[in-house]
């Protein structure tokens, strides 16, 4: 198992009390792995401790990316949330800590 950051980079940001986390393959092979394995369910399970609501995945093959929209993951967001990360700035980094079973082809 390796951390996702070894095969992907990411970017997160907020929209009200929702956030998006975009994940990009570092190589075409890494992107194909993401596309086949990084499901809405896997991302929902990863962010469950934050009380995430619905997770929606959008595929962006031209950028070798997946964009996940996570509702209600910021405990109110922006001005309301009491959390230190009220704007989802850390969510991209948090997803990249996910341990994945990526086997590079020889």
């Amino acid at each position: 198992m390796i951390p996702l950051r070894e095969i992907a980079f990411a970017r997160s940001g907020d929209k009200g009390s929702s956030a998006n986390v975009a994940v990009f393959g570092r190589t075409p092979e890494a992107y194909r792995w993401l596309r086949d394995h990084l499901t809405e369910g896997a991302v929902e399970a990863h962010f469950r401790p934050l009380g995430v609501g619905r997770v929606t995945r959008y595929d962006v093959p031209n950028l070798e990316a997946l964009n996940f929209v996570l509702t209600d993951v910021l405990a109110g967001g922006g001005s309301r949330s009491l959390r230190v990360d009220s704007q989802g700035k850390a969510l991209g980094m948090a997803l990249l800590e996910l341990q994945v079973d990526f086997q590079p082809k020889k």
């Binding site: 980079f9 009200g16 031209n62 009491l82 230190v84 800590e97």
Partner: protein, 456 residues
């Protein structure tokens, strides 16, 4: 094919680097436009509160200093024009102030325009129905008496009109962030409002630069590995007549413009990439091509656009109580255990004093608290230090003020090793609820007005 129009961003938010604009025009005097973004989702509510105490403070005053910093460049013949949403709640006042600065610098020839019409608070305030919250579906009547601001995200039309009328500095209130870039493109290339292909491309270009250095490696995953990451350059887009662009940055600046930095910024704060809704066009990012075009140059092309929807998005805010955050550092063995106990003690003492909170939170920073419960590789017992952060929220101000007085006593009644409390008492902050909704285009009339710069 006319040469590309060079547009830079010199401010990604209210509080960004104050000397970015002057540095940009010094490094790259051939820029056609500078854009400066000051308004986040709840910025206008902060302005509303400040303005209630100081009627002249309804806009981002930092921008007036930016205009002052550009005067030597303009006096020496520089021709870069400026488009900004620094006008906030009061674009007219901001424009008058800037015109005064230009006059004092002997630059009365430069024209300042104010774009208005985004304030829809009267429309929402008098509504008997509708304007449901886009996120929750809640009815406006649940918050209507507490509304502070309601502003429509205007498009590029009035900006382009002001530029065509000869404005050198265009100051708006709430507009969609990419429209600060689309407006200059429409005026420069003579696009019609229905040229959705080129407008979609310019919208992508504007989205790419709206967050300042973020397009050049700021906030990027691999920030630590960037060249000269302590002086990352602000982004420049060279927009072509077909709406495609090359993203770059000024020579001699740090950071990098690569396919990676550009892709990260393309999907920043995006929902459905196939349907990015701006007031100027509905844009698909799914047809974009991102290609290297030389050192620190990335070409972005292929955006497709359709007609925008028949409504404007509105960002409304309402008063929603008060909050405060208190922090102290705790050093020593069992630091996290001590911090939690101390935090609980603060809340218990307040409960004993009869203070009621609708929400409270204890965080121990250093334990992975930013995303509590996810991906912490160290157990709490291994940590010799943590920052205790206690937060409360209440409908009224009094219990939150009382909370602010209960943090410092930890210095003497808490565990040995409590330190780092020098920042003083926590500040009591108003909470503004965010109310995204839609308003019909027919209820909104974007306007512009050019100030006469020759007299006060």
């Amino acid at each position: 094919m006319p040469p590309p129009l060079k547009i830079a961003n010199a401010s990604g938010f209210w509080g960004d680097q104050p000397d970015a604009a002057a540095r940009l025009v010094a490094a790259q005097p051939d820029l056609g436009f500078l854009t400066l973004d000051y308004l986040a989702e709840v910025s206008l509510s902060i302005m509303a509160i400040v303005r209630s105490k100081d009627p002249s403070a309804g806009y981002a005053r930092d921008f007036v200093d930016v205009v002052r910093s550009l005067c030597p460049f303009w006096s020496a013949g520089g021709a870069t024009r400026v488009v900004t949403n620094a006008g906030g709640l009061d674009p007219d006042a901001c424009a008058r102030e800037c015109a005064g600065v230009l006059r004092a610098a002997g630059l009365s020839r430069l024209k300042v325009a104010a774009v208005g019409g985004d304030d829809v608070l009267p429309v929402l305030g008098s509504a008997t129905g509708g304007f449901a919250n886009l996120e929750t579906g809640a009815l406006l009547s649940t918050v209507a008496p507490r509304l502070v601001t309601a502003n429509a995200y205007l498009g590029a039309g009035a900006i382009a009109d002001a530029l065509r009328a000869g404005a050198d500095v265009v100051i708006t209130g709430r507009v969609a962030d990419p429209s600060l870039t689309v407006g200059p493109c429409i005026a420069h290339f003579g696009w019609s409002p229905a040229d959705f292909g080129p407008i979609a491309g310019a919208t992508v270009a504007g989205h790419l630069i709206e967050c300042g250095t973020q397009a050049c490696g700021g906030f990027s995953t691999d920030w630590l590995d960037l060249p000269d990451n302590l002086s990352i350059g602000f982004p420049i887009v060279e927009v072509s007549a077909d709406g495609s662009c090359v993203v770059t940055k000024a020579a001699g600046t740090g950071g990098a413009v690569t396919a990676q930095t550009v892709k990260e910024q393309l999907l920043y704060e995006i929902g459905d990439p196939g349907n990015y809704l701006s007031p100027d066009a509905a844009v698909s990012f799914l047809t974009l091509r991102v290609e290297p075009a030389g050192a620190d140059r990335v070409r972005v092309s292929g955006a497709t656009g359709r007609a925008p929807t028949d409504s404007y998005k509105v960002s409304a805010t309402y008063r929603d109580g008060y909050k405060a955050h208190g922090m102290v550092t705790i050093f020593g063995h069992d630091a996290v255990k001590k911090a939690r106990r101390a935090g609980e003690g603060v809340l218990l003492r307040l409960q004993g004093a009869g203070c009621l909170y609708r929400e409270h939170l204890i965080e121990c920073l250093g334990t992975g608290a930013s995303v509590r419960g996810i991906a912490s590789r160290m157990s709490d017992t291994q940590l010799v230090e943590t920052v205790l952060r206690v937060s409360v929220a209440a409908d009224s101000r009094e219990p939150v003020e009382r909370f602010a007085k209960e943090i410092a006593p930890l210095v003497t009644c808490g565990p040995q090793g409590v330190t780092g409390y020098a920042a003083g008492r926590p500040r009591v902050l108003p909470i503004f609820g965010f109310w995204p909704t839609l308003v019909s285009r027919s209820a909104v009339s974007p306007t512009f007005r050019i100030l006469d710069g020759t007299r006060p």
